[in-house]
């Protein structure tokens, strides 16, 4: 079902853990949806010096988190903000179709941690971004209240939104 790279990251996930006093924290999903990820970043001179994550979820969700953490480490804030879901899935040599939404979650969690870092730097309180929802079947972003996917027309699972 999974590629060797996915299995490798699932079996030996990189950067698992928590950074106490992190510069930015991003949390997406919830266990009801199936997956939940928390990313922590430590930033020095605009560079992501350290990154850690915790994930509740399936094999793909764990592998995605691990890959995102590897991709983000050592990057500037601008570079890391540009990591896309597709890049993550590609780096993992592909994910099964019904698991593509996990890769969205990974990049989203990282971007949220970056946003949190920026907010903190500006001295603002953290404000979550509006909810996003991806179709688990074709990966297209949908309005939150959508019952059917605007991309493939399939019925969306009731509990599919991944950011609350």
């Amino acid at each position: 079902m999974y590629t060797q790279t996915v299995m490798d990251h699932f079996k030996n996930p990189r950067n698992v853990g928590v950074i106490e006093g992190a510069d930015g924290v991003g949390e997406v999903g919830n266990p009801v949806c199936g997956d939940m990820m928390t990313f922590y970043i430590k930033v020095k001179d605009n560079v992501i010096e350290d990154v850690k994550f915790q994930t509740f979820g399936c094999g793909a969700a764990i592998a995605v988190s691990s890959m995102v953490s590897e991709m983000a480490r050592g990057k500037t804030i601008e570079q890391a903000s540009q990591i896309t879901n597709k890049q993550v899935a590609d780096a993992l040599e592909g994910l099964p179709k019904q698991k593509l939404h996990c890769s969205n979650l990974g990049a989203d969690a990282l971007h949220k941690a970056i946003e949190d870092y920026k907010m903190k730097k500006e001295g603002k309180a953290y404000k979550p971004t509006p909810k996003k929802c991806y179709c688990p079947f074709c990966d297209v972003e949908n309005p939150n209240e959508a019952e059917f996917c605007t991309g493939c027309g399939k019925e969306l699972p009731e509990e599919h939104e991944h950011e609350h």
Binding site: V18, V32, T38, F56, G57, C58, G59, I62
Partner: protein, 392 residues
């Protein structure tokens, strides 16, 4: 690495005697049971012998058995067959909320075609209340269908009590007994069942052979139009080797059910006793005593099932889970939601189902390999971290 197969609700090996009995019907006796020459006659005899054996397993008459290809087909034939043949009397059907997809989706299809479906709730153990069946029956009700046992959580339903009610109210009663027949005693007259689904692949028979019991005198509409096989109720050339295999499996089950039950109860008891001692925060699912033998259904809290299952697979242990991440629909098991298990907990469900080739050491091995997997996943779970912080 030794493989421990503990996923018998998904599939099971066939009994060696079943295999032996099937082989000649692939090689020498390949005739079509509808042919009138000697080869056809041989196939027909084998078919009728198997029919008698399957009937004996459930206390039925041979002529009340219709062979089908799988449990799903039997369930479809029961629901749609009754609905289409009896719609002049009424269009109401009652099912439970924890039925197999082949009942649930069948009922959904009938609903779209204009039938009215009542879905009965279950309690936290997954039990249907017979009183609720009685209250749901109206003069327009044509069929009640409640499963005999639920493989996902192991609960055995009060089918005889429900059968008494449907008989008194003169409403047809079907039970999907696919996971019960051959594993625990099932007797159609004791249950007052009018229709009953069973499948050979759930009692050490081959895949591809199943049956629907249809009490004499009850009309159903066939789903397949074609020849007059199975009294015209199920057209299509019979799968003779598989049906012969199911017959032998039924014969073996008649003899071995008591022995199998106590052996499998021993295995599941061993695991059930060990799990909470080795792993904190596990919740047993289903009824504590009215259970399928060899079936252990648990929710390991704060982590997800697929991840556990993959790690167990790497250790050579084959099991299943009701997690949404495993199902192609990405939905948490409807059975657990109906029982009031919250979606997050259901995500961490694991199902162990033992069979006769399992050994007590297999339960011990599971108790050895699972705890470190759980610990590892909990250590990376933000849900666990939050829950522990709350408790501290």
């Amino acid at each position: 690495m030794a493989i421990i197969y503990a996923d018998h609700v998904a599939a099971m090996p066939i009994h060696p005697k079943v295999y032996e009995a099937m082989v000649p019907y692939f090689k020498e006796f390949y005739g079509n049971a509808s042919s009138i020459h000697e080869d056809g006659e041989k196939a027909r005899e084998a078919l009728e012998e198997a029919r008698g054996k399957v009937a004996r397993l459930i206390g039925a008459q041979a002529e009340d058995i219709i062979f089908t290809s799988c449990g799903t087909e039997s369930n479809n034939l029961a629901l749609k067959g009754v609905a289409l043949a009896h719609q002049a009397k009424g269009k109401e059907i009652i099912i439970s909320g924890i039925e197999h997809f082949s009942i649930m989706h069948c009922a959904n299809a009938l609903e779209k075609a204009g039938f009215h479906v009542t879905r009965l709730p279950v309690d936290s153990h997954g039990l249907v209340d017979p009183g609720a069946v009685e209250r749901a029956i109206t003069p327009q009700t044509i069929l009640v269908s409640v499963m005999h046992s639920n493989p996902e959580v192991g609960t055995i339903e009060p089918i005889a009590e429900i059968g008494k009610i449907t008989r008194a109210k003169k409403v047809l009663f079907h039970t999907d007994a696919v996971d019960s027949v051959g594993n625990i005693p099932v007797e159609v007259n004791e249950l007052n069942a009018d229709l009953l689904s069973l499948a050979g692949s759930t009692f050490y028979g081959p895949k591809g052979a199943a049956a629907l019991y249809l009490r004499k005198g009850i009309k159903i509409q066939p789903l397949l139009d074609g020849g007059i096989q199975e009294r015209g109720l199920r057209a299509g050339t019979e799968n003779v080797p598989a049906i012969v295999g199911m017959g032998v499996a039924a014969e073996l089950a008649v003899e071995e059910i008591p022995k199998r039950m106590s052996y499998l109860q021993g295995l599941s008891g061993r695991l059930t006793e060990g799990l909470p001692k080795k792993i904190p925060h596990v919740r047993f699912l289903g009824h504590p005593t009215r259970r399928l033998p060899g079936n252990v259904s648990v929710a390991v809290e704060y982590i997800e099932g697929e991840a556990m299952l993959l790690f167990m697979d790497m250790e050579g242990v084959r099991i299943s889970s009701g997690s949404a991440c495993i199902s192609r629909s990405l939905k948490v098991s409807h059975v657990m939601l109906a029982m009031g298990v919250d979606a997050a907990t259901a995500q961490g469900s694991l199902l162990f189902s033992f069979g006769m080739q399992n050994k007590p050491e297999d339960a011990d091995r599971i108790l050895e390999v699972l705890p470190p997997i759980v610990e590892r996943l909990r250590n990376m779970s933000p849900v666990y971290r939050k829950a522990m912080a709350k408790k501290a």
